[in-house]
């Protein structure tokens, strides 16, 4: 035991005194997480949502079509039911302003407080508000603003068009419906009575009036024999008749409906999957973007990727021992092959575990990465995390020893080890998250130890505060990694030549 301890102590001393090894083991991974953490978006690692995002601020508290419901809600509903569009509600104009200023959103729709009031005023009547112009709706007339990021004019233009169409779909049916209602209004019939001037048929007894033409209003008056109530009733009948005739004439439409769906009788076709979500800050805070959502992906990816860089370190340690002649000297000492192998494997394993723990602690401290759900005490989080760390290091050590068994020089270690580690990292999902790969190729990640390690780490590090990790996945991954590690260690011990 003291012999193995002497070998372990010596190996750790040598590695810890080698600045290149220290940089590779501890500094580089942290630097990668930091640099990527600063530059990738908050949606990194998630399946890209190809729907157009319409962000809006709703300051409208008026009342519209349905009592108590502001017109802005009708527009929001209309937008949400539009295919390939998702709505994001931003709580405050200040937040919206910041997002535009930081170029995080191309355009943000702002319903000001008088939006409902202005829509209520919209009418085809002379005293009504006409919101239309050649290309759509005057936003300012209806108290709506569209804040745009000047650096993203194309996306902003698309959003504006979508908003315009939606506003038209809301305002136009409202105005048509209201206009149609006016057809039964006595005032309108009065007006109609004044405007409709008909020729008097010769056989009519009132030809004695010696008029060639008579107004519709006079006819109705005559028919009511001067009784105002009867006259009013006749006028209503005419109004209803006109409405009924128009309805019959344009029966594909409900001219009384004040919404687009009702007007076009297409309410049953409302789109499914309408999504309205509130804006939440997923970017993290502070210069390091502490707590950012993207770290849930970046930290496991780079932790796993760099744990397997142990392949290079262990390979170099073995090759250097051969090259500098010390392996020969070790063999002249009363050591067994087992002593020499253990003297290499134990420090490599210890370094790997130390490296992982360092990265996990640093990530928790610097980037706010959780080690498990918040309702798990730290002890429970560690109880699940440590087996993942140990089994991943075991798998990495097995691979490292395999490379050390076949490589005869530092160059060979760099070529075989470097290539293997990089290819496995790419295939295993350490460069491109599995979620971003095509579904048909995602299974390939599980052909690599990195893929299994990522599965386990993501369960623990990649969830939200409330997310309950699937412990079956963790147990399965640890088992696979341990088996891979043991198998490759066995193979490497058999292949390794100590001469």
């Amino acid at each position: 035991m003291s012999i193995v301890w002497a070998l372990v102590k010596k190996e750790l001393r040598l590695v810890l005194r080698d600045p290149v090894a220290l940089i590779l083991l501890f500094v580089l991974p942290l630097l990668f997480i930091l640099v990527f953490g600063l530059f990738v978006g908050d949606s990194f690692g998630q399946k890209p949502d190809k729907r157009l995002r319409i962000s809006l601020v709703d300051l409208d508290h008026g009342s519209g079509l349905n009592k108590g419901e502001p017109w802005s809600h009708v527009v929001r509903r209309d937008l949400a039911e539009t295919a390939n569009i998702r709505i994001e509600i931003i709580d405050s104009p200040e937040e919206a302003e910041r997002l535009i200023h930081e170029h995080k959103r191309a355009a943000i729709l702002v319903f000001q407080s008088h939006f409902s009031e202005r829509i209520n005023d919209c009418s085809f009547l002379a005293d009504g508000l006409n919101p239309f112009h050649r290309d759509g709706v005057y936003l300012d007339k209806v108290d709506v603003q569209l804040w745009k990021d000047e650096k993203q004019p194309a996306t902003a233009a698309v959003i504006e068009q979508v908003v315009q169409v939606s506003l038209l779909r809301v305002i136009l049916p409202w105005m048509i419906g209201r206009a149609f209602e006016r057809l039964s209004d006595p005032e309108f019939i009065q007006l109609l009575g004044e405007k409709v001037n008909l020729p008097v048929p010769k056989q009519f007894p009132f030809n004695m009036l010696r008029k060639e033409k008579i107004k519709l209003g006079e006819l109705l008056k005559m028919a009511s024999s001067g009784n105002p109530d009867t006259a009013q009733m006749y006028k209503k009948k005419v109004g209803d008749g006109v409405q009924a005739a128009l309805a019959e004439q344009f029966k594909k439409y409900n001219l009384r409906g004040k919404t687009w769906a009702s007007l076009t009788k297409s309410s049953e076709d409302a789109r499914e999957g309408a999504e309205v979500s509130s804006y939440e800050n997923r970017e993290g805070s502070g210069p390091l973007r502490y707590g950012g959502e993207h770290y849930k992906y970046l930290v496991p990816m780079f932790v796993v990727m760099f744990v397997f860089f142990l392949v290079l370190i262990a390979g170099w340690v073995f090759v250097a021992e051969r090259r500098q002649g010390t392996l020969r000297r070790l063999q002249t000492a009363p050591l067994t092959r087992g002593h020499i192998l253990m003297g290499k494997m134990v420090p490599c394993f210890a370094l790997s575990v130390g490296q992982t723990l360092f990265l996990l602690i640093a990530s928790r401290w610097l980037f706010g990465v959780r080690w498990g759900p918040d309702n798990w005490p730290l002890g429970e989080q560690l109880a699940w995390l440590l087996p993942v760390v140990l089994s991943t290091s075991l798998a990495a050590m097995g691979l490292a020893l395999l490379i050390a068994a076949v490589a005869r020089s530092e160059l060979q270690v760099a070529i075989y080890g470097g290539l293997l580690v990089l290819v496995l990292a790419v295939v295993g999902g350490c460069v491109l998250p599995r979620e971003m790969m095509p579904e048909t190729t995602q299974f390939i990640t599980l052909l690599t130890p990195q893929g299994w390690a990522l599965d386990a780490y993501r369960e623990l590090l990649g969830g939200s505060q409330e997310y309950q990790p699937n412990t079956a996945i963790i147990v399965r991954s640890c088992g696979v990694l341990a088996a891979l590690g043991a198998a490759s260690l066995g193979l490497a011990s058999w292949l390794l030549r100590l001469d």
Binding site: L7, R329, T332, A333
Partner: protein, 311 residues
């Protein structure tokens, strides 16, 4: 008759079709410095690898203190210290850490071990540099440490494989002194080199190796007797009586060149020289020119192998 400290019997080693050692046999007595002299590729390192239990011979046997050496015999390794030809040191450890590490591999620890490490550092002249990283050392200092490491576990047999390759004269002298000191303390040493002067200066018995074979193995004086020396001279007037007396000199044979130059070939150069001087004085012959050719190891090596040592 007591058995030799180290016995090498009919040892051969094949690497595929290449014969590296061909039925090598010799003995080393306890307390002796045995030299193996031979050019690069003669098989010296292979032989030392077998003696230090790193290689198994294809045939033959090696015994240390009567015990056969076999691969994996951990106990016998404790008796042997090896100074490899290549520097086998950890550059990022200090001299003291290197010594401690290799000592710990033999299970040595405690205050006595620390004292021993300090003694070795003093003996190899690295006391002042004990805490410095080895990578900062000169070639000579590294060579000295390379020797020190082989001593850290107190071996009874020390195998030195070309221990002075590429060192400065000061370090070479240091190594020589240390070798003599160790031998003076009773340690048995096997010293391989292709530097004749080193072997001549240090070793009591020498084995001459070439192409995997021991060509000769004996003490230096007896090896030198393999080849005669020569005295070459001319005299002003060579009388027939003087010629006759020169021809009759014991242990010498006279030959005469066309230019009148005479050559006396002899095994005992010094004795013959004394006799020659006496004869010339008696004959009152004037010595015009004189040249002496003594036998040395290089001439013996050339004679035995047909090539120069550094070919």
């Amino acid at each position: 008759m007591t058995a030799a400290f180290l016995e090498v019997r009919e040892v051969s080693k094949h690497y595929g079709s290449t014969l590296a050692l061909d039925r090598v046999s010799f003995d080393v007595q306890e307390g002796e410095i045995f030299g193996l002299l031979g050019p690069n590729g003669a098989g010296k390192t292979t032989l030392l690898s077998i003696v230090s239990c790193l290689l198994e011979p294809t045939s033959g046997e090696v015994r240390l203190l009567g015990r056969p050496l076999v691969l994996g015999d951990r106990e016998v390794r404790r008796l042997i210290g090896v100074v490899p030809q290549e520097l086998a040191l950890y550059g990022d450890l200090s001299a003291r850490e290197n010594l401690h590490f290799f000592g710990e591999l033999y299970g040595i620890c405690g205050p006595e071990f620390h004292r021993r490490v300090a003694q070795i550092l003093a003996a190899i002249g690295l006391e002042d540099k004990a805490g410095d990283r080895v990578r900062t050392f000169s070639g000579g200092m590294k060579r000295r440490l390379n020797l020190g490491i082989a001593l850290v576990h107190g071996p009874r047999l020390l195998l030195l494989d070309e221990p002075t390759v590429g060192v400065d004269p000061q370090s070479r002298n240091h190594i020589f002194e240390e070798v003599r000191r160790l031998n003076g303390e009773g340690m048995t040493l096997v010293y391989t080199s292709h530097y004749m002067e080193e072997v001549q200066a240090l070793c009591s018995r020498i084995g001459i190796m070439d192409h995997g074979r021991i060509k000769a193995c004996d003490t230096l004086p007896r090896l030198l007797q393999i080849l005669p020396g020569a005295l070459r001279f001319t005299v002003a007037s060579l009388t027939p009586a003087l010629r006759e007396r020169l021809k009759n000199l014991p242990g010498a044979s006279l030959s005469e060149g066309e230019d009148g130059r005479l050559e006396l070939e002899c095994a005992d150069v010094k004795g013959t020289l004394v006799e020659l001087m006496r004869l010339l004085q008696q004959a009152q012959a004037e010595l015009v020119s004189f040249d002496i050719e003594e036998t040395n190891l290089e001439r013996v090596f050339l004679h035995l192998t047909g090539r120069q040592l550094r070919d």
